[in-house]
């Protein structure tokens, strides 16, 4: 029994889910008022944009790539939305436009990565600075969003189980469901896993490696664009410094959620728990009261480190076992 629990491939994900449940329960015992549906929903409300972008990132990391530009894309989209709404454009035109902008950036970066065989990190790193710079070109100052329709969407609450959730939460859960479907039930998803496992073999098997890779970066771009919309709804402002360092939170969510950094193995569903654990850290720091906000960054860094080491240990265990069996 113990062997069965420990030996399966999703050990890392099991640890993550256990860690989340146990820490949530411990915190509920320590802090009065912590255990409530609303507090649980708040984890989703405060991190919906992170969840959306992390789902896109899961696909990128599954192919063995990386995207460092997601935070900048969110900042740029928030800036474009705020600026266009200020100019009096309709919210229902601006929102799809924001998503499209993200998709375009993703597609361009994917094309450069694929067509010129450049490492993803340098292309997306350059993209990260380029796009953040572009948002400063719109305005150096922060622009607040006063559009009535946009504000109504942002403040709309859906009552559920004695609490309430925002539109963002529904949006992120829909993206999660779509992501799970794409990854586990479509040809595209299987190709993504195959590329992450061994790109050359995938190519030799006749899978459309190039096309899938460009599509993965486009998908991630679309997710960051949508995350930009969610972020604007959450903050009700556009600013070039928004979502700084979010790329790391996003990568951390994916890794903590049990996806291998080298690609080829992982679950979209796990990413949800990667996001929730980070949300929990933030909430605990808030409840604790004396710790300052920068501790979040340090804790997330430590957690990311622990899980990367865990991945190493698990993959080492697997190889020794295989050798033993042979």
């Amino acid at each position: 029994m113990i062997n069965k629990i420990l030996s399966t491939k999703n050990l890392s994900l099991k640890i993550t889910i256990t860690l989340f449940v146990v820490s949530f329960l411990i915190c509920s015992l320590i802090y009065p008022g912590f255990f409530s549906w609303q507090n649980f929903f708040n984890l989703f409300i405060d991190n919906s944009f992170l969840l959306i972008t992390a789902i896109g990132m899961t696909f990128v990391i599954l192919t063995g790539g990386i995207d460092l530009s997601v935070g900048s894309v969110i900042a740029f989209v928030s800036m474009v939305i705020a600026f266009l709404l200020q100019q009096g454009l309709n919210a229902f035109i601006v929102i799809p436009l924001g998503v499209m902008i993200g998709g375009c950036f993703g597609a361009i970066m994917g094309l450069i990565i694929q067509k010129f065989k450049v490492q993803p990190f340098i292309v997306t790193l350059a993209g990260m600075f380029l796009i953040r710079g572009l948002s400063f070109l719109i305005s150096v100052e922060s622009i607040s969003i006063k559009d009535p329709i946009f504000n109504r969407i942002a403040n709309y609450h859906i009552p559920i189980a004695g609490g309430a959730i925002s539109v963002n939460v529904v949006l992120s859960l829909v993206v999660l469901a779509l992501g799970m479907y794409l990854a586990h039930f479509t040809k595209f998803g299987r190709t993504v896993y195959a590329i992450g496992g061994d790109e050359e073999s995938a190519q030799l098997m006749g899978l459309k490696v190039g096309r899938t890779k460009v599509l993965v970066y486009t998908l991630n771009g679309l997710c960051s664009g949508l995350a930009g919309v969610a972020f604007s709804l959450y903050m009700l402002s556009g600013y070039g410094l928004h979502a700084e360092g979010l790329e790391m939170d996003s990568i951390a969510s994916v890794v903590i959620g049990g996806t291998l950094l080298t690609g080829g193995s992982g679950f979209v569903f796990g990413t949800l728990f990667g996001v929730l654990i980070q949300g929990l850290i933030q909430t605990v720091i808030m409840f604790q009261g004396t710790l300052s906000s920068w501790w979040t960054k340090i804790f997330v860094g430590i957690l990311l480190f622990v899980f990367i080491v865990l991945q190493k240990v698990i993959s080492n265990m697997k190889t020794t076992k295989n050798e033993f069996n042979n």
């Binding site: 450049v118 340098i122 350059a126 710079g133 070039g240 920068w294 997330v300 860094g301 990367i308």
Partner: protein, 351 residues
């Protein structure tokens, strides 16, 4: 005659050629568009002018680029240099922690917690510890360098804020200002620091086998291990060195602005450093490297920044230009692009 031609061809093929060309191009542009770009004045025995300014303000970048060159030569990358700049600055500033006090006699006295050498040494040691952390992750745990250093890139700013307690620490202690603002023989001290780092690293790389080892690891780390090069140790050392370079840059920056700002010190410096190295003709795939051309690359980046400031364009445009330049250089340097270019040239020959 022949040897001159030979030397010219050798120079044409050297790594320093492209960045020098870019630098000359920028200088010509500035000569026409910025008044008195080449003027150097002597005020109170100190040299002043745009050229001196570029060298002086480019000093931190040049030093970081030297460290980054070695990391990239081992086929690694260090994204944490900006955060280490902030950490080193925070450590030094909080140790000096100068306070202005007025004695009963009416004299103004600057109090420090520690002396300058202690503060400088502490900053370098702390940075070296963070460098060890990076090196440990990359060399022992075999974590991809991008992710390993990304952890410190983000968490490091948190650490810096922890040290400064979330505030900007102002420095009042004057002897500390020598590092970033002092002059020696009419030339800014920072330029001497760059020269010293360049000289030491240059000697280490070209007069000992260390440089060859690094190039060998960057070309093929498995083969290097088989021929007995201590691949792990060298990778480890390279990350420590990069962090120390970042710390020196951090000291210069905090001394120059007389304050340590955990949020903004060294912000986006990692891109500048990578840009400098790539512009210096060094490959991101590792292998052969040239420190001098990275330094020239850093000068190009700094000249670009100074030009944007002098031309009165919003400084944020810099980010766009630099990001764009990195993309262009990376594409131009890719094997696929070179192949296509060669095909075109061959076709042209046939016609």
């Amino acid at each position: 005659m022949d040897s001159v031609k030979h030397k010219l061809i050798k120079f044409r093929n050297s790594k320093a050629f492209t960045p020098l060309l870019a630098l000359i191009f920028l200088f010509i542009f500035n000569f026409f568009y910025i008044d008195g770009f080449f003027q150097i004045e002597i005020k109170d025995g100190r040299l002043f002018g745009y050229l001196i300014d570029i060298l002086n303000r480019g000093a931190p970048l040049m030093i970081i680029a030297i460290g980054m060159t070695l990391v990239i030569a081992t086929e690694g990358i260090d994204l944490s240099v900006g955060a280490v700049v902030a950490i080193a600055g925070a450590v030094a500033a909080s140790l000096i922690g100068g306070e202005m006090q007025i004695t009963p006699a009416g004299e103004i006295v600057y109090e420090t917690v520690t002396t300058v050498p202690v503060a400088v040494l502490a900053a370098l040691v702390v940075a070296a510890v963070f460098g060890m952390w990076n090196g440990f992750l990359v060399s022992s745990l075999k974590i991809p360098a991008i992710v390993a250093t990304l952890i410190l890139m983000v968490a490091g700013r948190g650490v810096a804020q922890l040290i400064t307690k979330g505030q900007i620490i102002t420095i009042y202690y004057e002897p500390y200002f020598v590092i970033g603002q002092g002059y020696l023989l009419g030339i800014p001290v920072a330029i001497f620091i760059v020269a010293a780092v360049l000289l030491i690293v240059g000697l280490l790389m070209r007069k000992t086998a260390l440089g060859l080892f690094i190039e060998s690891i960057g070309s093929n780390d498995v083969a290097s291990r088989y021929i007995g090069i201590k691949e792990k140790q060298i990778k480890f050392i390279v990350y420590i060195f990069s962090a120390i370079c970042a710390a020196i840059a951090g000291l210069i920056i905090t001394s120059n602005v007389k304050a340590a700002d955990a949020n903004n010190a060294g912000l986006w410096m990692e891109l500048d450093a990578i840009l400098s190295v790539v512009m210096g003709g060094n490959s991101l795939q590792g292998g052969k490297f040239s420190i001098v051309s990275s330094v020239i690359g850093a000068l190009v980046v700094q000249t670009l920044t100074t030009t944007v400031y002098a031309a009165g364009i919003t400084p944020e445009v810099n980010l766009v230009i630099k990001g764009f330049v990195v993309l262009i250089i990376v594409i131009l340097k890719s094997d696929i692009f070179k192949e296509k270019l060669n095909l075109l040239v061959q076709r042209g020959d046939r016609v």
